[in-house]
C-alpha cells in the first residue's frame, strides 16, 4: 500500500491531472515569497559594513547557486529512477530539469560577475566558487547536447541519465579540486570577501529568498514536465480528449460571449 504512490508516478496522466490543482497555490506562494524577499533584501535589510549596498545581490545570487547545484542532483536522481525502474515520467522530469538548472547556473554566474565588479574591481575573477559554477554550467550544457543528439528519444533519455550519474560522482571531486587549486593560486589582495559574520537582519530575507527559489524551481519543473508530458503522450486518448476540450472551450466561448453582449 505504501508503495502505491510510487507506482502511480509511472503514469504521466496521473501526474498531469494531480498537479493541475497544485499549480495556482504554488504560483501564489512563489510570487509572494519572491516579492517579499526581494523588497526586504533590497530596501529593508541593513547595508553591509564593508561592501555597502552591492551585497544586496546576495539575495538572488546565493539562492540561484543553491538551486543550480540541487537541480543537478534532482536531474540525476530522476534519471537514475528512470534507469532502474524503467518508468517514463522520471525521464520527462530529467529532461525538464536540465534547462532550468542551466538557466539558474547562468543566473548565479552573471550575478556573481556583476557583484564582483564593485567588490573586486573586475567582472571576472577565477574564484573557486565561480569556477566550480562555470564547470557545473558546462556539465548541464553537455547533458542537454547529448539528449538532443539522438534520433531516438528513448536512447537520448537513457544516455543523458548515465551522463548525469557520472557527473554526480564527479561534482564533489571537481568542487574539492577547484577549492584546492584556488588556495594554491589565491592572490592575497582579495581575501576579505563577504565572510564577515552575517547579521540576522540580513539573514531572514536570504532565508525567504532561498525558500522562494525552491518554490520557483518546483513550479518551473512542474510546468516544463507537464508540457513535456503532453508532447510525449500526444498519441494517447486522454491527451486527445484534453486537446479537444481545450480547443472546444475556446471555440464555444466566442459565440456565448458575443451573444451575451448583444
Amino acid at each position: 500500500m505504501a508503495w502505491q504512490w510510487f507506482h502511480r508516478l509511472g503514469s504521466p496522466r496521473w501526474f498531469y491531472e494531480k498537479t493541475q490543482a497544485w499549480l495556482p497555490w504554488l504560483t501564489a506562494i512563489t510570487l509572494v515569497l519572491l516579492v517579499v524577499g526581494s523588497i526586504w533584501g533590497l530596501a529593508f535589510a541593513p547595508a553591509d559594513a564593508k561592501q555597502g549596498n552591492s551585497y544586496r545581490i546576495i539575495y538572488i545570487h546565493v539562492p540561484a547557486a543553491f538551486l543550480a547545484l540541487a537541480g543537478y542532483y534532482i536531474m540525476a536522481i530522476s534519471g537514475a529512477i528512470g534507469l532502474i525502474w524503467k518508468m517514463k515520467l522520471p525521464y520527462m522530469v530529467m529532461k525538464s530539469a536540465a534547462p532550468i538548472g542551466a538557466a539558474l547556473t547562468f543566473v548565479s554566474l552573471v550575478t556573481g560577475s556583476i557583484w564582483g565588479k564593485p567588490t573586486w574591481g573586475t567582472w571576472w575573477e577565477w574564484d573557486a566558487r565561480i569556477t566550480s559554477m562555470l564547470i557545473l554550467f558546462f556539465l548541464y550544457l553537455g547533458i542537454m547536447a547529448l539528449q538532443q543528439a539522438f534520433h531516438s528519444r528513448d536512447t537520448g533519455d537513457k544516455a543523458s541519465a548515465i551522463l548525469a550519474l557520472v557527473g554526480t560522482v564527479n561534482i564533489p571531486i571537481i568542487y574539492k579540486s577547484v577549492d584546492w587549486w584556488y588556495t594554491l593560486h589565491q592572490p592575497a589582495t582579495i581575501k576579505f570577501v563577504g565572510e564577515s559574520s552575517i547579521h540576522p537582519s540580513m539573514l531572514y530575507p536570504l532565508l525567504i529568498m532561498v525558500i522562494a527559489f525552491y518554490c520557483f524551481y518546483a513550479l518551473a519543473l512542474l510546468l516544463y514536465t507537464r508540457a513535456e508530458i503532453l508532447r510525449r503522450e500526444s498519441r494517447t486518448q486522454w491527451v486527445n480528449e484534453l486537446v479537444a476540450r481545450q480547443a472546444g472551450s475556446v471555440n464555444h466561448d466566442i459565440p456565448v460571449k458575443g451573444g451575451s453582449a448583444v
Binding site: 564547470i135 558546462f138 556539465l139 550544457l141 553537455g142 547533458i143 547536447a145 547529448l146 543528439a149 539522438f150 534520433h151 531516438s152 528513448d154 536512447t155 537520448g156 537513457k158 544516455a159 548515465i162 551522463l163 550519474l165 557520472v166 557527473g167 560522482v169 564527479n170 571531486i173 571537481i174 574539492k176 579540486s177 577547484v178 584546492w180 587549486w181 594554491l184
Partner: protein, 238 residues
C-alpha cells in the same frame, strides 16, 4: 596475472580472464596494424606545442613559466581527440554487438579496450613529453614529475573518456559532442597533474598530488568501465 590456469579457480573466472587477454591482444594487434592512426595524436601533440612559442613568445622565461600547464593541457586535448575511435570501429563492423551479447562480463572487455587505448596513446604521449618539455624550456626539476603525473593522468583520462566514447558511439558526428561532455570531467585530473609539475619546478614535495592522482586512477578503474559498459548497452541501439 598468470593465475588463469590455477586449477582451483572457478571455470567462469578463467574464461573471463582469457576473454580479457584475447580482447587485449586483438585490439593491440589492430592498433599496430593501423599505425598511422596511432601516430596522429602524437603529431597533434607536437604541432600544438609548436604553436605556443609562435603564438605567445619564444622567450625562455615566459615559456618556462607556462610549460607544465601547457604540456598538460595539450596532452589532455590529444587524448580527447583520440577517444572517438575507441569503440567506433567495433560498432561499425558489428563486433560490438557480439561483445554485448556474449556471456562474459562487459566490464572486462571495456577495461581491455581502454587499456589498449592507453597503451597506444597515453603511454606514447608520456614518453614524448620530455622532448616537448625541452622545446618549452621546462626547468630541470620538472621532467620526472611530468612523466609520472602524465603516466597516471592519461590512464585516468582514457578511462573517463571511455564513458563519453561509449555514449556517443552511435552518433555519426559524435566527435565534438564527445569533447564537450568529457572535458568538464577532466578538470580534477588536470588541476592535480599540472600543479604537481608546477610545484616540482618550484622545488616543493609533490607526494600528495601524486597520491591524489593515483586515487583518481583507482576510482576510475573501478567505476568508469561500469559506466561505459552501461552506456554501450544504451547507446548502441539508437
Amino acid at each position: 596475472m598468470t593465475e588463469v590456469t590455477v586449477p582451483g579457480s572457478a571455470g567462469g573466472s578463467a574464461t573471463t580472464f582469457s576473454m580479457f587477454w584475447a580482447t587485449l591482444r586483438r585490439d593491440l594487434l589492430l592498433a599496430i596494424r593501423n599505425r598511422a592512426e596511432m601516430v596522429n595524436p602524437l603529431v597533434f601533440f607536437l604541432i600544438a606545442i609548436t604553436m605556443i612559442p609562435l603564438g605567445v613568445s619564444p622567450e625562455t622565461k615566459t615559456l618556462a613559466a607556462i610549460a607544465p600547464g601547457l604540456i598538460w593541457v595539450m596532452a589532455l586535448l590529444a587524448t580527447l581527440l583520440s577517444l572517438d575511435g575507441l569503440f567506433r570501429s567495433d560498432f561499425e563492423d558489428g563486433s560490438l554487438e557480439q561483445m554485448l551479447i556474449s556471456p562474459q562480463p562487459l566490464y572486462f572487455t571495456v577495461l581491455a579496450k581502454v587499456m589498449v587505448h592507453w597503451l597506444v596513446t597515453g603511454l606514447p604521449l608520456t614518453l614524448m613529453s620530455p622532448l616537448l618539455g625541452v622545446m618549452l624550456a621546462l626547468p630541470s626539476g620538472g621532467y620526472g614529475p611530468l612523466c609520472i603525473t602524465l603516466l597516471l593522468g592519461t590512464a585516468s583520462m582514457s578511462l573517463i573518456g571511455a564513458v563519453g566514447a561509449a555514449l556517443t558511439v552511435a552518433l555519426r558526428k559524435g566527435g565534438l559532442l564527445l569533447s564537450l561532455i568529457v572535458m568538464p570531467l577532466y578538470v580534477p585530473v588536470l588541476i592535480f597533474g599540472a600543479s604537481a609539475v608546477h610545484n616540482a619546478v618550484l622545488g616543493s614535495v609533490i607526494n600528495s598530488q601524486i597520491a591524489v592522482l593515483g586515487a583518481f586512477l583507482a576510482l576510475a578503474i573501478v567505476l568508469a568501465p561500469l559506466a561505459a559498459a552501461g552506456a554501450l548497452r544504451v547507446s548502441s541501439d539508437g
